[in-house]
Symmetry: C2
Subunit: 215 residues, 2 copies
């Protein structure tokens, strides 16, 4: 039988996994909203962030309570502190999906993404989805091998981010400065989202192996 302490720790873990699911859905919906200039979906992403923020707050409070009441020893302590950091990363990932949805909403009914970069943005959305799904699985199962895959996905995201700039900076770019700004910000949001997912996964690795994460 588990004790109360470890039950509460499990609840924090479950909240993190649920948050990774929510910010994954937010990101994939935001990408669809962006590519299809879909106002309803944009609003959906923006509204759904409340749920992420609530889980963030609840999980923080639960972690504080647990620390204060139970005075956990080193190993458990590290798990809780790491959980607090992860919850902050997940909250930020939700914000980044909202930023993307807001750009889609701002340009509606026009698409924010010119046809020439659609494909790269679409791929960035796919990679973001892969990364967050794997980060959720790493969180759920402490699967170190998946964590290595996730690092490679992040390299793919960086390559797509570079490709985006190459297109926007090409002399044939014909969509003007406004679209260039939108695409620059969008690229940054996808890239930061992936960075946070990688940091989540590294923190799990750190917990499992005891090694400090590379970043």
């Amino acid at each position: 039988m588990r004790d109360t302490f470890h039950d509460e720790l499990d609840q924090i873990g479950a909240a993190l996994i649920e948050m990774s699911r929510l910010v994954g859905t937010a990101m994939s919906t935001a990408t669809t909203a962006l590519l299809n200039a879909d106002l309803t979906l944009s609003e959906e992403v923006i509204a759904s962030d409340d749920k992420v923020n609530l889980l963030h707050q609840e999980t923080e409070e639960r972690a504080f309570d647990l620390l204060a009441r139970q005075q956990p020893v080193a190993g458990d302590l590290r798990v809780i502190i790491t959980g607090l950091r992860m919850v902050a990363s997940l909250e930020r990932m939700g914000d980044l999906a909202v930023h993307i949805a807001k750009i889609a909403r701002l340009r509606y009914p026009d698409p924010a993404v010119p046809s020439e970069v659609r494909d790269v943005i679409k791929q960035m959305g796919v990679v973001a989805q892969n990364i967050v799904t794997k980060a959720g699985a790493v969180l759920a199962g402490h699967d170190i091998e998946l964590a290595a895959e996730l690092e490679r996905d992040d390299d793919a995201m960086d390559a797509l981010h570079k490709k985006l700039f190459t297109i926007v900076l090409d002399k044939d770019w014909q969509y003007g400065v406004e679209a260039a700004i939108d695409v620059t910000l969008l690229g940054r949001f996808y890239e930061r989202y992936a960075d946070h997912a990688v940091s989540l996964s590294r923190r799990v690795v750190q917990l499992v192996t005891g090694e400090l994460p590379a970043s």
Copy 2:
């Protein structure tokens, strides 16, 4: 006489103040490097981030040790956890100053900032400097009134950020897409830097008043 525990807590506080000083210098040097297209200063900012990262790591480890060895009660616990979050914000602020210095270096010997936005960027640099200096003072003295000032500085930063977009999106913008991208990213880096400084200050307020910060 102070006990060892509170001496160590003071050392964490001193490290946070020192980090705020370092990332303040990094930001003001990065702004000068940017405005003067100064390669030496750019490199200086980039190299100096090692010191911030080292302090980040040392302070994290000290906080973990303290938590594990001393099993602090609720109030002290909250101080340490908050310190861990602050150290993460400060580390990120250092990164943002480096991002700015890297844009200056990338465009060297040309200036990355066209003459038309020089003044706004200069002001953003000044506001960033004000904010981080006040955040350092809030950290050092738990001065709640200064924290309110800092929120107003952040509003000023947001207004400058908007102004930047107005200039870049004006039909008379003559510097092309590359400069627009640089300016977009620079604007975002200054704005995020200020956000992190505000979050530092809010966390101090939270510790002093017991109220959760607004973000």
